[in-house]
């Protein structure tokens, strides 16, 4: 796993259960730019797994590849033993009923109220009577602390509340896994604390498997059982958060330490300053 990663031997040898998500030899490029260059990655069942890395390294793309929204150039993505990219359209849609995803913006349907947003997947995929839908929706909203906000419209919610409603919607069908795309970005400390706690609590209470894509190191490491660090199309490190902080990789040290210069340079590639200042104008 993870190519030349020094912690490769550590992650899930202790668990016998096959991983929920198994990625092998994944290659993906877009507009001529290589995003993933043959990565191997396992997401264990019942755990919170973090995928971290600097902006633009393809973390969200990885979630879209796992959910079958994007198709890789090469490699296999298996979720619960099924190659998601070999499924037909109808099979893929059925499979997605077992996945939940929390988008960076919440992605609530803006013409529906909070209640109707959470009820949406239930109404679409079940034939439950209306009073049962109501009870389920209220339970999901209670789980995220927003039962009292059920009549509000998405435009009336703060960013943190919108994400919590989206989380309630994502768990409406009791999925086996939830993918979180940058759940902490742009949140005030209180909202961030609530989201951090919710992700961990929901994962344990509902026996979910969670994938958290984020570059908020402190918050993500505080709830993750295992973490991967991605950069330059490869996995450069993985292991428990403590192991990552002990890593000697300069990439990992720069990322976790928030250092302005290092393997990810401060300066965008350019000719020397002298040649730029003294040479012909571009």
């Amino acid at each position: 796993m993870a190519g030349s990663c020094p912690l490769a031997a550590l992650p899930f040898a202790m668990t016998d259960a096959p991983p929920l998500v198994k990625i092998r030899g994944l290659r993906f490029s877009r507009s001529g730019r290589t995003i993933f260059d043959g990565i191997d990655l396992d997401i264990p069942r019942g755990k919170v797994t973090a995928i971290m890395g600097p902006s633009g390294t393809g973390k969200t793309t990885l979630l879209k590849l796992i959910s079958g929204e994007l198709t890789p150039d090469a490699g296999v993505v298996e979720v619960d033993g099924q190659d998601v990219h070999r499924l037909g359209t109808d099979e893929l849609y059925r499979f997605r009923m077992r996945m939940g995803m929390l988008f960076q913006t919440g992605a609530l349907l803006t013409d529906l109220s909070v209640f109707e947003n959470v009820a949406y997947p239930l109404r679409e995929h079940t034939r439950l009577p209306e009073d049962m839908v109501r009870k389920l929706v209220l339970m999901k909203l209670e789980a995220v602390g927003l039962r009292g906000a059920r009549a509000l419209m998405p435009a009336e919610l703060s960013g943190g509340m919108a994400r919590r409603v989206a989380l309630a919607r994502a768990i409406a069908l009791d999925p086996m896994m939830i993918m979180y795309d940058e759940p902490f970005t742009g949140q005030d400390p209180i909202s961030m604390g609530i989201l951090v706690q919710l992700i961990r609590r929901l994962n344990d209470a509902a026996r979910l498997s969670s994938i958290v894509v984020s570059h908020d190191v402190k918050e993500t490491c505080s709830i993750a059982d295992h973490a991967y660090v991605i950069a330059k199309g490869r996995i450069i490190e993985h292991g428990a958060p403590d192991q990552l902080f002990a890593s000697r990789s300069p990439w990992v040290r720069q990322f976790l330490g928030g250092l302005p210069d290092g393997p990810v340079p401060f300066h965008f590639p350019a000719p020397t300053l002298e040649s730029d200042l003294l040479g012909e104008p571009a």
Binding site: E69, M99, G100, M101, Q104, T105, A107, Y120, P121
Partner: protein
């Protein structure tokens, strides 16, 4: 020279790709047509938003276009002593040409641009992706009802435009310029052919409804999901729809009324 040729070729390939994507989208929309039968409420909501909300601009435009036709027609026809045929001129112009064409142009500006902006924003705010992740096909759920709403609304709006235009022409011709009331209506009744004029006008408006709604949906669904991308897509919807309507109008007119 080679660079210019390469650039031309590259643009041609990109245009062909867009055309291909547009046709595939139309195919996917049509394949999802069962959705509007299973969930008629979705269709009704969109008929309201696409059609009913366009009534005001179409109605007001229809009245004024009819009034202008009445005025211009009267001055031209009176030079030949043929002002009694004003009703025929107004009705034929509206039912054959101006009704379907002007309604389609107004529809593209009012409803088409709104459709593109709505779908583009749904894409930019990841609502379409969220539907995908909820195992809901966004083409069937979002695009198909809007497509059929556009196709249903356009002939109705065009009929309303023509009817109100005829009344506008009557108001100017009979009410203000003194043409005989009976002559205005009886000449129209005698000379306007239901099959050749009215039905052909309805066919035109149906075709324009398909084209304008298709362009609007495609531009929204295929746009770059940024504020600039949505803005450009909305502009393209209006421009492409207007050009398509005017071009198709010529072709359809030649087919319907040519010898």
């Amino acid at each position: 020279m080679i660079d210019a040729l390469a650039q031309l070729g590259s643009r041609g390939i990109a245009a062909a790709r867009r055309l291909g994507r547009g046709h595939l989208l139309l195919l996917a929309v049509l394949r999802g047509s069962g959705e509007v039968v299973r969930r008629p409420r979705l269709l009704l909501q969109q008929v309201f938003s696409v059609g009913v909300l366009s009534v005001l601009i179409v109605a007001v435009s229809g009245v004024f276009v009819g009034m202008v036709l009445g005025l211009q027609g009267f001055y031209i026809l009176s030079q030949f002593g043929a002002e009694a045929t004003l009703g025929v001129m107004v009705a034929a112009s509206l039912v054959r040409e101006l009704g379907p064409v002007v309604t389609a142009l107004l529809f593209a500006g009012r409803a088409g641009s709104a459709l593109t902006a709505e779908i583009g924003l749904m894409k930019a705010t990841e609502q379409l992706s969220a539907l995908e992740m909820m195992a809901v096909n966004p083409i069937r759920r979002v695009l198909t009802p809007r497509f059929f709403a556009g196709v249903i609304s356009m002939p109705l709006l065009a009929a309303m435009f023509s009817a109100l235009g005829v009344i506008g022409g009557w108001f100017v011709g009979v009410g203000l310029l003194g043409i005989d009331d009976g002559t205005y209506w009886s000449q129209m009744q005698t000379k306007i052919d239901f099959d050749k004029d009215v039905i052909n006008g309805v066919i035109k408006s149906l075709v324009f409804g398909v084209v304008c709604t298709w362009i609007a949906l495609y531009q929204g669904y295929d746009c770059v999901p940024t504020s600039e991308g949505v803005s450009r897509a909305t502009t393209r919807t209006v421009v492409h729809s207007a050009l398509a309507v005017l071009g198709l109008d010529f072709v359809l007119t030649a087919l319907m009324f040519g010898n």
